[in-house]
């Protein structure tokens, strides 16, 4: 079947050009109609044949049909039997256009429409069909993607056309990919020379082909394949090391982001703020709210929600400080209980006002997917951005604390409150601003976390323990300590996880911290001098 499909693909390509030259077909007895009717049959095997028939027909609209089918947007009106392409499929009524003529038909209710369903096997067939077509487009990225999709999918009928395409291909990367795809096919046929081409490849399909060859009956071929595999295994190990490091730093950056606001409120001011997690949650909800305000522009919304998240959480922080914490100065236990109460209130407030359900935060295009270093190592983009963001926030915070008047006053008040006041610093105002700053930074963490995890009322709870852990481990009152502690806990956790499993890794890290605190009660970077006494 595959052979025929590839031959028919060629036919399709020729026909596409003809169709471009020729005129549109008459509407009455549209040849597309029986093709689509065949697609609407119940069995998946029949649908697969129908896809081949569409390709073979060479109809100029076939690409649009196949894409709509792939997206589940090719549908049929139950009463009239008319085939339509759905343009947007959310809510009860969907805008549609005629699949044959392309005329817009207004809106139809989802009750009236019957989707032409596909399964994963058909999706695979469609993907390789569309991939072959994509090899002829102008965009080199699309061609590379198409060549990638063809790895492990090549069959006898495709070899000659693919070789022709490769020889004309201007982009070197695409050429390499196509050579690899062809080599995989040749190796499957028992060609030992293909091993050389594949020996440097880290792609799983290449490895699968080599694995197959290593198990073959031909001892020479098997030995050669084994040697190539051993070489690949070495490279893979190194890549795996880098991958774990990246995972660790990425987890660490999340911990640092979540904890750094607490490092100010708890570390510098000494307030045990149990509502810290909920301030993070407020930041995440701001991110969601911004996307509601700017529909269709998730990228802009993410950027705008950075200052907005800071402001919302910061103002909430100031309100908490004014209404609760300032009255409980020097009474840590009561502060703990009161802020715990505040955290519950904030959670229930969000549940009642917004919804108890999680909210969708859309990841903008430029933040999704991964940065491909090689076939075995790719860095997920959203986490890469969060890592960079965490470092930026940290640097900005260091600047504020070291270089601004507010930072100077904060340090003065925390080191010696009475002395600072006698020098004319309004300590209560400094308290309020410091708490607001810490809360605002928590809001920033929320904006970043919205890109990684759930945005729901429970978001904050999962980070509060980790945040305290990082601050205590790093040394209370030391921002550098928070950075180093967060990053190292992240790396330790990710190194342990493949060995011990997620549950045990968490426990081991916790035990490690407890033991560490026994030995060094003031954390990694203890404060020295008179400030430590206060």
């Amino acid at each position: 079947m595959r052979i025929t499909r590839c031959l028919t693909l060629w036919l399709l390509l020729c026909a596409l050009m003809l169709a471009l030259l020729g005129s549109a077909q008459a509407q009455q007895d549209d040849p597309g109609k029986p093709l689509l009717e065949a697609l609407a049959s119940a069995s998946y095997a029949a649908k697969s044949d129908a896809i081949d028939a569409i390709v073979a027909s060479g109809d100029s609209r076939s690409r649009a049909w196949l894409e709509a089918l792939n997206d589940g947007k090719l549908q049929q009106n139950k009463q009239t039997g008319q085939f339509v392409v759905v343009l947007a499929n959310r809510g009860r009524n969907w805008p549609v256009e005629d699949a044959l003529s392309g005329e817009p038909l207004g809106e139809m209710s989802r009750r009236e429409l019957d989707r032409i369903g596909i399964n994963n096997a058909l999706r695979g067939q469609l993907r390789s069909t569309l991939a072959v077509l994509d090899l002829y487009v102008d965009n080199p990225d699309a061609r590379l993607q198409a060549a990638n999709d063809l790895l492990g999918q090549v069959d006898a009928g495709m070899v000659a056309p693919l070789e022709a395409v490769r020889d004309q291909e201007p982009s070197e990367a695409v050429q390499e990919r196509l050579t690899e795809a062809l080599a995989i096919y040749r190796l499957e046929q028992g060609d030992a020379q293909a091993i050389e081409t594949l020996s440097g490849s880290l792609h799983p399909e290449a490895r699968a082909a080599l694995n197959g060859a290593a198990a073959s009956d031909d001892p020479a071929l098997a030995a050669q394949a084994k040697k190539a595999l051993d070489g690949i295994e070495q490279t893979l190990k190194i890549n795996r090391g880098f991958e774990t490091l990246y995972f660790g730093l990425s987890l660490g950056s999340v911990l640092v982001l979540a904890a750094i606001g607490l490092a100010i409120t708890f570390g510098v001011m000494g307030v045990i703020n149990m509502a810290h997690g909920e301030l993070i949650m407020l930041g995440a909800y701001t991110s969601w709210g911004m996307q509601q305000l700017l529909p269709g522009q998730p990228g802009l919304a993410v950027i705008l929600s950075i200052p907005a998240g800071f402001l919302v959480a910061g103002l909430a922080g100031v309100a908490i400080e004014r209404c609760v914490i300032q009255f409980l100065k020097g009474r840590p236990l009561e502060t703990l209980l009161a802020t715990f109460g505040v955290s519950l209130i904030l959670q229930q407030l969000v549940r009642t006002l917004v919804s108890p359900l999680n909210r969708t935060v859309i990841t903008p295009e430029w933040m999704s997917g991964s940065l491909v270093i090689n076939d075995a190592l790719s860095l997920t983009l959203n986490r890469l951005y969060v890592l960079g963001f965490a470092l930026l926030v940290f640097a900005a915070l260091m600047l504020v604390m070291r270089r601004t008047r507010l930072g100077l006053e904060v340090r003065a008040v925390t080191q010696n409150r009475a002395m600072a006041r006698s020098m004319g610093i309004r300590a209560t105002r400094v308290d309020m601003l410091t708490f607001g700053l810490g809360a605002g930074v928590a809001g920033l963490a929320g904006v970043a976390l919205a890109q990684l995890t759930n945005v729901g009322p429970n978001l904050g709870q999962s980070y509060i323990i980790d945040s305290f852990m990082v601050v205590v481990f790093g040394g209370v009152g030391n921002l550098w300590g928070t950075l180093v502690a967060g990053m190292s806990l992240g790396v330790i956790n990710q190194v342990l996880e493949p060995w011990a499993g997620a549950v045990l890794a968490k426990i081991i890290v916790l035990v490690f911290i407890i033991l560490f605190i026994q030995k060094r009660p003031r954390g990694l970077f203890p404060q020295k001098g008179r400030a430590a006494e206060g």
């Binding site: 997206d71 799983p204 983009l381 759930n454 493949p498």
Partner: protein, 432 residues
């Protein structure tokens, strides 16, 4: 002082007494329906919609004339996602409010906490969520799926229709995934899957850092054999899990993930574009093409006033359970617990997928099993379904100790765990 003439006084007295008597006659103490779902705390995310579903169904029933000529009165309590509080609230419903039936619970641990109370006070509980099985109580009706109505057919589909040979069983670390995975592991080994082709992974509740696990799955799946992930990952942890899958480029055509706890409601919090083609096994999907279903959806949208609100499997379970209870009360002629308990066995009502659900003697119901693929609009499209409905099995056939047990609450057996080998009730080891 009194300005009323005797005639008027008489008339006023008559009117007064009528005024008291009339509503009393019409209302003739309503039938009380208890709703025991968390409206705050971690589980509010899933359970609060079920409360609204019950309120909607009760409202509809009252508009249609109530039950046995009496009105239904919902009694809503909030157990706040707190397991011991579930038991207290159940006691409050049964002992103080004197409700005739309770619809409630989501997590297995909350059901286990309510169980002794419902049995002691002889209440009725309809439990609407898929669960791990290994339980059958005289007072509980399980309208969600047992493992043989969800997990086993899903694995069969992957094995026979997709050709999967390597399996990742990933779950959250608590009773439902552990029991389900134990059953699945035994089932897979029975079908000739080798030890090294099964990878089992547990993560804590709300796990948010999936990088390592997803990359492990990717590696496990790149050994040449077709691999699938069977996910019993619970609620909140799914969003970061699916995000990581999408970002690390695991495509459903390469490594499909079939989930047992991810429905339309969970997907409404995720951008599903990168997830198209991943699977879920349920007994109901909102996308099922059926008029009864469309009517239910329209009523739900009108009730919530939100054009985008979704329906899901546990909601259908409540729909079925509520209708079964109505039918049983009509059959018994009274909402009395003992009468209803006997009357309900064998009651058959339409479900929302175009078929019928029947209450079996083991207090589980018959359900069709549907496999759906995730679409880019947060809905599922059904790619496979069982040819007929499957009856829920309280005791799994694949676990040692549990396979000898059957449950039958009809007279004369009236036993939830009858051991067919020892021929005694209450015999047999509780499955581990």
């Amino acid at each position: 002082m009194n300005t009323l003439t005797p005639t008027y006084r008489w008339l006023a007295a008559a009117l007064l007494s009528m005024g008291v008597a009339l509503p009393a006659q019409a209302q003739e103490d309503p039938i009380k329906v208890g709703i025991l779902h968390s409206l705050s705390g971690t589980m509010a995310i899933s359970e609060s919609t079920l409360k609204d579903t019950m309120l909607m169904l009760i409202e509809q029933q009252n508009e249609a004339g109530g039950l046995l000529g009496r009105q239904l009165e919902p009694v809503v309590v909030d157990p706040a996602s707190n397991w011991p509080l579930f038991a207290e609230k159940a006691r409050e419903l049964l002992a103080q409010e004197k409700v005739d039936v309770i619809f409630g619970n989501w997590t297995s641990v909350s059901r286990k906490s309510v169980l002794p109370v419902v049995e002691e006070l002889n209440g009725l509980l309809f439990y609407p969520v898929q669960y791990e099985g290994e339980e059958s109580s005289e007072n509980v009706f399980y309208t969600g799926a047992a493992p043989n109505q969800q997990a086993i057919p899903a694995v069969n589909y992957l094995m026979n229709n997709v050709g999967v040979e390597r399996w990742v069983l990933a779950g959250t670390d608590y009773v439902y995934p552990r029991t389900t995975n134990k059953i699945l592991e035994a089932y897979l080994k029975d079908h000739g899957v080798a030890d090294e082709d099964i990878m089992i992974n547990y993560t804590p509740f709300g796990h948010s850092d999936w990088q390592n696990i997803v990359s492990d799955i990717k590696r496990f799946g790149s050994e040449g054999k077709k691999t699938a992930v069977v996910s019993t990952i619970n609620g909140d942890a799914n969003v970061p899990f699916y995000r990581e899958l999408g970002n690390q480029g695991i495509d459903a055509a390469d490594i499909p993930v079939v989930a047992f706890s991810v429905g339309e409601q969970e997907l409404s919090g995720i951008d599903t574009a990168p997830l198209v083609g991943h699977l879920a096994a349920w007994n109901y999907f909102m996308s099922v093409d059926n008029d009864a279903n469309y009517d239910f959806i329209d009523a739900w949208i009108d009730y919530t006033g939100d054009e985008m609100s979704v329906t899901n499997d546990p909601m259908e379970a409540h729909y079925i359970g509520f209708n079964m209870w109505l039918e049983a009360v009509r059959k018994a002629g009274t909402p009395d617990v003992d009468a209803v308990k006997d009357a309900i066995i064998g009651v058959t009502v339409p479900n929302l997928t175009g078929g019928y659900a029947a209450m079996m003697p083991n207090h589980h119901i018959t359900k069709p099993v549907l496999i759906g693929e995730i679409q880019d609009n947060g809905q599922f499209s059904v790619v496979w379904e069982t040819p007929s409905t499957v009856a829920g099995d309280a005791w799994s056939d694949y676990l040692e100790g549990s396979r000898d047990l059957i449950s039958d609450w009809r007279k004369p057996m009236e036993c939830g765990n009858y051991n067919v080998v020892e021929a005694s009730c209450g015999g047999g080891v509780e499955a581990q």
